[in-house]
Structure formats: C-alpha cells, structure tokens
Symmetry: C2
Subunit: 167 residues, 2 copies
C-alpha cells in the first residue's frame, strides 16, 4: 500500500473529496488506471531515451521492426493491426523506417492496391542486435518484481486490456 502511505497522495485525495462534495469517489480504480498510464509513459520514455535512441528508433518504430522480425513480410493492414496502430499512423511510421533504411515497401503484383513491408538487411541486423538489449531493459524495468509478481501483473493487465478493447 505504498501509494496510500504517501502524504502527497493523501493530500490529493482529500482535495478531490473536497471538490466532489458528497459524490462518492472510487479511489482504488482511479489509482489503478492512473498508474497504468504513468507506468507506460515512464517505461516508454526510458526505453526511447536509453536503448532505442542509439538505434534511431521510436517505440512505435521498434514495435514495427519487431513484428516484422517475428512474423516476416506482411501486408500493411495486418502489420498495422499487429502493431496496434491505425493504418494512417503505420503509413507514417513505415515512411520513417524506410528513410532510415530499416524496411522496404513492395507492390503486390497480383493485387496492385496492396503493399507489403519487409525488413531490409540493415533492419534485420539492427533488430537482431537490438532485441536482446531491449529485452534486458524490460527486465530492468520490472526488476523489483518477483517472477510470480511479473506474471500476476501481466495477468491483471490482460483483464484490463480485454475490458477496454471490447466494445
């Protein structure tokens, strides 16, 4: 209950209650959700300033490279879904990755509306050197958690994801 012990947060809670008047406040949910967001921001910033910047990659760029590495050449639409990005955003990310020489676009002969994206040799080399370091960095981010706690965390988050994604 480290959060509850913080005078900073107790103060905030008191202020919020004052603003809310009689209306009830679901403090546990508020804390859970806001911590999800803060953790994600912190972890992303850390990754981008640390490992990723050395390779000239953003979080989204890394994700895209990683997906292509694991799954191989893919159509734009599938790649976007796998990266959890809109088609429009993926177009931009791929454009940047192309500029950096990490990926290449290929027109599909049988259907000229379609385009596939694949790693270049440089992209392959980069992700193969980068991923082990990224995975090590991930380990550092959760180093205060036991193996069980990591699994517990992943599972709790999975339930939130399922709820949030469902329409």
């Amino acid at each position: 209950m480290g959060d509850r012990a913080s005078p900073r947060l107790l103060d905030a809670e008191r202020r919020i209650q004052a603003r809310l008047g009689d209306r009830q406040l679901d403090f546990e949910s508020m804390l859970a959700v806001s911590n999800i967001y803060r953790a994600a921001t912190a972890v992303r910033r850390r990754a981008e300033k640390g490992v990723l910047s050395e390779f000239g990659l953003s979080w989204g760029g890394f994700t895209t490279l990683w997906v292509l590495w694991v799954w191989g050449e893919m159509r734009t639409a599938d790649l976007a879904e796998e990266c959890d990005l809109s088609k429009a955003t993926l177009t931009g990310v791929v454009k940047t990755l192309e500029k950096r020489g990490f990926v290449e676009r290929k027109q599909v002969e049988s259907d000229r509306r379609r385009v596939t994206v694949a790693l270049t040799d440089a992209g392959l080399d980069t992700i193969e050197r980068l991923f082990p370091r990224f995975n090590r960095y991930e380990g550092e981010m959760v180093r205060e958690l036991s193996t069980n706690q990591k699994q517990e965390l992943a599972e709790l988050l999975r339930r939130v994801i399922v709820t949030a994604v469902a329409e």
Copy 2:
C-alpha cells in the same frame, strides 16, 4: 496464466526463440512490460472515444484540467511537472484548452517571466461534470478486478514507475 494459454502467444514465443537462437529470452518481463503499454493505450483510447470526446478533451487536456481543479491556479512549470509533461508540450495543451475556453493564462506581476494557468468558470463547470463520469469509467476499466486486485495492480505498477523514473 491467461496469456500463456493463448496459442497465438505461444506461437509468437516460439518464433522469437527461433530468431534468438541460443540467446535467452526473459519472457515474463517482456509480457509484463508489453501489457503495461497495451493496457495504457487501450484505456486511453477508450476514454478519448467515450467520455472525453463529448467534452472536446484529449487525455492530456483532461489531466491538465483535473490538476488545476485539485490544486488550483499554478505556474506553468509546476503544472507541467504535475501533469507529467514537458514544458513545451504543456504550452501546446494549454493553448488548446485556452482556445476551448477552459483555462486562462495570467502574467505574474512580480516576475514577468512567469505565467500562471487557472480554470475559467466554463472549465470549472466542465471538470465538475466530467470527473464523476471519468471516475465511473475508470471503475468500468477495472471491473474484472476485486478491490484487493486493484490495489495489488496499483502497487506493482508503482514499483515499476519508481524503477523507470529513477535515473
């Protein structure tokens, strides 16, 4: 163990291992970190498409309004820190909020480099109507979790935040 049970993920794990060869993979950490990010994205998107869009606010805009509501008029630098944004980003967010009529800037008389930001009447009215709904939405996002699990989740994330933010 929901994640491990998914054939989709097992397949991915196998592929990653194949790419990695003999090098070891810290799968628990990978899953924990990637789920943090996916959960944050899902929760944010859901909030922006649901509650927030009705009020013409982004996640960052809402956060800013909320901080100003709880803490009152603030200097730009403090507001940026409290919102966990860079000064530059906050300038933009405040500009948007000003355009929408939610906040106003005030030059500080005693030190003309400084600027404070405060809620307008419209901003106050908005956040007072919005926050209860946002808090209800937060509850929905974690409705699959017991109170203990919410606290557990918040605590596990707090440890990650502390690790990631420390330099």
